[in-house]
């Protein structure tokens, strides 16, 4: 698998001159390395190669940067706006002493905003296999699967219940957050691969599962979660009480639901916030989000909370709804105070109501956004108590029925867009394996020799570039389709891209040539280079810990801890015997042209 690189004797310098050295590894130890050392890519369900696309954006190759995203997550423009950003929580720049995480998500959007006019991503297409797959549901997950399957050479036909594709992206997310042209463009770039799309065709009603199972080699159900979970309290049927999701679908499909003066939103997710902010745009004067827990426990981003409050929405904590009261229509909600109990094993905290603490919150509109679950449709096979097909296998795509697969929110329950995309792609992988008996895509760790980065230490002190938003509230709330976040200026994006440490660069000291002079440690920006007595390894054989020492006789190696390293390059610059190498290490998918092996 791996070519040996032979260093010219003595003169270490010329090591950096040797022709591009590339090798691939599939050793679990190396995969483990990636999980520890490139935290952002590891955190991304779709394993987006984040350092690479930030670097290319830094080089002002916006289209390429977009492509690097597109390869992994299919919807760069969309996710650049609505992603839940698990990567940023893991960004090394966010470590306490190092400041705030890189604004990875908004850089993604910049790549989309500034790519070449009419830029089209050239797919690598495979010869047709003469096999066909039906996909039910044109949401993020279904579309992602459609993309992968058709590139591999399947004939893909999609059935969508609504009259436009996009699923939650279109019907769950308000326009002020995600402009429709952006969404449409990225959906088209998938459909153009020769995918046939039938809209307005609902499974069960307009299409029958047994027909599909008969007519197609495989069927993938990615119908999402469209059944709202009710509060299950008295009065929920009163006029003026909406289910969050239906409310959003109405809003997004243009039929403005009627909201009154004072709206209460019950729920804690993105949907709750979308409902609240939409309600405001529909004319409510006073909107409150009511939480069972506290702001601390919210799963939405900090910016989201701040924007909501800026718009005048108030967030009320520690209250559990008991009943909705009112004559003729909703007039108020009775809540009871809650108290947090000790933390459970799974890290979640129990919340218990406090006896006798009932109180009333007057209102005229109640939006219940406490979540939704998958919608059942009739199909053979094992199902759970809600009638949902139970996913099988590690990758959770197969069902008990041969040829019938599930993906996306339908399979997992409500999740994020990026998870849905990852899901869809994994399902495609499984289907391809089952139908071709081989895999077309193989994950591998790609290592490429490189020279030292041109990053300057001072870039580490650049402030995180904030996303500009439409300032005057009047203008913002004026119409429902004004995008609140206006996107980075080119300069801001470029500035932000400088902040990335480029964790995909691997710095290593060659123990055979090190003279233990500690020059590197002297110039290190933090305790990233260590005097090591021994290392701990995991079952995969990868290093998981260093035993440091200051006893000279016990210093067996001087090692760079890539989990602490911020890739400033100082060490490699000063090493007297040039024993520090820099390697670009990336988690990639290799395409194998021949079907199986």
């Amino acid at each position: 698998m791996r070519e040996q690189s032979d260093y010219p004797a003595q003169d270490g310098k010329s090591e950096l001159k040797v022709v591009k050295q590339v090798s691939y590894s599939t050793d679990p130890a190396d995969f483990h390395y990636m999980t520890v050392n490139v935290p952002c890519q590891n955190a991304c369900p779709a394993a987006t190669n984040i350092p690479a696309y930030i670097r290319t954006l830094f080089e002002e190759r916006y289209s390429r940067s977009y492509e690097l995203n597109r390869i992994a997550n299919i919807f760069p423009g969309v996710l650049g706006r609505v992603c839940s950003r698990p990567c940023e929580d893991q960004c090394r720049h966010g470590e306490p002493e190092l400041g705030r995480p890189v604004n990875i998500c908004h850089i993604k959007r910049a790549a989309a905003d500034y790519r070449r006019e009419g830029h089209i991503y050239m797919e690598r297409l495979f010869a047709p296999l003469g096999k066909s797959v039906a996909i039910i549901g044109a949401g993020p997950s279904g579309l992602a699967a459609a993309h992968d399957l058709s590139t591999i050479g399947f004939k893909v036909v999609m059935f969508e219940a609504f009259d436009q594709p996009g699923g939650m992206l279109r019907y769950g997310i308000p326009e002020f957050r995600l402009p429709r042209d952006v969404l449409q463009a990225e959906i088209d770039s998938i459909l153009r691969l020769g995918v046939t799309l039938h809209t307005g065709r609902r499974i069960g009603a307009d299409v029958r599962m047994e027909d599909l199972l008969r007519d197609y080699d495989a069927v993938l159900a990615a119908t999402g979660c469209y059944t709202s979970i009710p509060l299950g309290v008295p009065g929920e049927d009163l006029p003026g009480v909406y289910a969050g999701l239906e409310f959003m679908i109405d809003v997004t499909s243009g039929k403005a639901p009627r909201v009154g003066e004072k709206a209460l939103v019950v729920g804690a997710g993105f949907t709750a916030f979308d409902c609240a902010r939409s309600a405001l745009r529909l004319g409510a004067r006073e909107v409150s989000i009511c939480l069972r827990r506290t702001e601390e426990d919210l799963r939405v981003t900090r910016d989201e909370i701040l924007e909501a409050k800026r718009e005048g929405i108030s967030i009320k904590s520690l209250m559990l709804s008991q009943r909705i009261v009112g004559q003729g229509r909703a007039q108020g909600v009775e809540f009871v105070r809650t108290r947090p109990e000790s933390v459970r094993a799974d890290g979640k905290r129990e919340i218990a109501p406090i006896q006798g603490s009932e109180f009333m919150e007057p209102c005229d509109t109640v939006i219940v956004a406490t979540g939704q679950r998958s919608t059942p449709f009739d199909a053979p096979g094992e199902k759970d108590r809600h009638g949902i097909l139970t996913p099988l296998g590690a990758r959770g795509a197969r069902t008990s029925v041969p040829g019938l697969y599930v993906a996306g929110d339908y399979a997992t329950g409500p999740s994020t867009v990026i998870q849905a995309v990852a899901q869809g792609r994994r399902a495609a992988e499984v289907i391809a394996e089952d139908l071709t008996g081989g895999t077309r895509r193989q994950k591998a760790v790609r290592m490429e020799d490189t020279t030292i980065t041109d990053r300057s230490r001072s870039w580490d002190y650049i402030q995180r570039q904030e996303m500009p938003t439409v300032a005057p509230m009047a203008k913002r709330l004026g119409s429902a389709d004004i995008e609140v976040e206006t996107g980075y200026e080119r300069d801001a994006a470029h500035e932000e891209s400088k902040r990335c440490y480029l964790c995909y660069l691997h710095y290593e000291i060659d123990m055979d040539r090190c003279i233990y002079c500690r020059y590197c440690i002297d110039v290190a920006p933090r305790d990233c280079i260590k005097l090591v007595e021994s290392v701990e390894t995991n079952e995969a054989g990868a290093i998981v810990g260093y035993k440091e020492t200051t006893s000279w006789r016990r210093v067996n190696a001087v090692m760079i801890d890539n989990a602490r390293c911020i890739r400033c390059g100082e060490c490699a610059r000063v090493c007297p015997v040039d024993c520090i190498s820099v390697t670009k290490v990336e988690l990639v998918e290799r395409l194998s042209m021949e079907g199986g092996q």
Binding site: I515, R518, S534, A542, R553, A557, P576
Partner: protein, 269 residues
């Protein structure tokens, strides 16, 4: 190229299990980070270990200077004497207990400057002392004055216009003083240092090791890592270490050829 994670871990373990560094002391060397002396230290370390010398039968005697601190960082017997007088002390030690392996270490100021007068006599006596000259051509401990081996034109605070005195050539001196083993080596090549030391320590007479090193703190001009790395090179294949004249000629002809210059055939008693 990146070492695969598994290999890397294995590598550290093998070094750990080899105990190769057990001849060091617990003291972290106080030389400036990046100092060439680390390379020399590494070489000496490996030589002692590969010869499997019992550490308690090794004695290191030093003078004053950065190199003079060596005994503190070595897990052997050591003696830090006064400036320039390491060779006389070492002579006493060796005569008192011939069983010991005696290493005398010191810098160029210590050995060619204040102690320069001792070198000829140590060589003449040809007692089995291994004298290792850490030659970085500068006074480091007193913060950068020219040394006897500083090249002409070296600017320091004490020679603002550049030195005008000719530099001494340790190897040539040792050869001309009649040392029976003379090696010239480079701190950046610890492997060769180890090899030469193993040969020299086994040599029954006085052995002189002239090691080119750097002072990263005070010499940014001459004996820098880059200069030494690009200029030094091994002795020609054709070089015969038993040939005294050839050794002299080599030293006269080339300042940067590295290796064992001269190794006299032991005189049959």
């Amino acid at each position: 190229m990146k070492t695969p994670a598994r290999e890397l871990a294995a590598k550290v373990k093998s070094i750990h299990d080899s105990h190769i560094f057990s001849v060091r002391s617990d003291e972290l060397p106080t030389w400036c980070p990046g100092c060439g002396y680390f390379g020399i230290h590494f070489g000496i370390n490996n030589a002692i270990q590969r010869l499997e010398l019992p550490h308690h039968e090794v004695m290191i005697v030093s003078g004053i200077g950065c190199a003079g601190r060596y005994p503190f960082f070595s897990g052997t017997y050591g003696l830090h004497t006064v400036h320039g007088r390491s060779l006389p002390v070492a002579t006493g030690v060796k005569l008192a207990n011939p069983g010991l392996t005696v290493l005398a270490v010191g810098g160029d100021g210590d050995g060619l400057g204040i102690g320069g007068g001792h070198l000829p006599h140590a060589a003449r006596r040809d007692i089995n002392i291994n004298y290792i000259l850490f030659d970085n051509s500068i006074y480091g401990l007193t913060k950068g004055q020219p040394s006897p081996s500083s090249p002409i034109g070296m600017k320091t605070k004490a020679s603002p216009l550049g030195t005008i005195d000719k530099p001494l050539n340790g190897s040539l001196m040792a050869l001309s003083y009649g040392a029976t083993f003379v090696a010239r080596l480079f701190a950046g090549d610890p492997e060769s240092i180890a090899d030469a030391l193993m040969e020299g320590i086994n040599h029954p007479g006085f052995a002189f090791f002239h090691i080119y090193s750097t002072c990263v703190t005070f010499d940014k001009q001459f004996k820098t890592w880059d200069n030494l790395k690009s200029r030094t090179h091994p002795l020609p294949e054709s070089h015969d270490p038993q040939d005294y004249k050839q050794a002299i000629n080599e030293v006269l002809a080339d300042d940067y050829s590295m290796g064992v210059l001269y190794h006299a055939k032991p005189v049959a008693q």
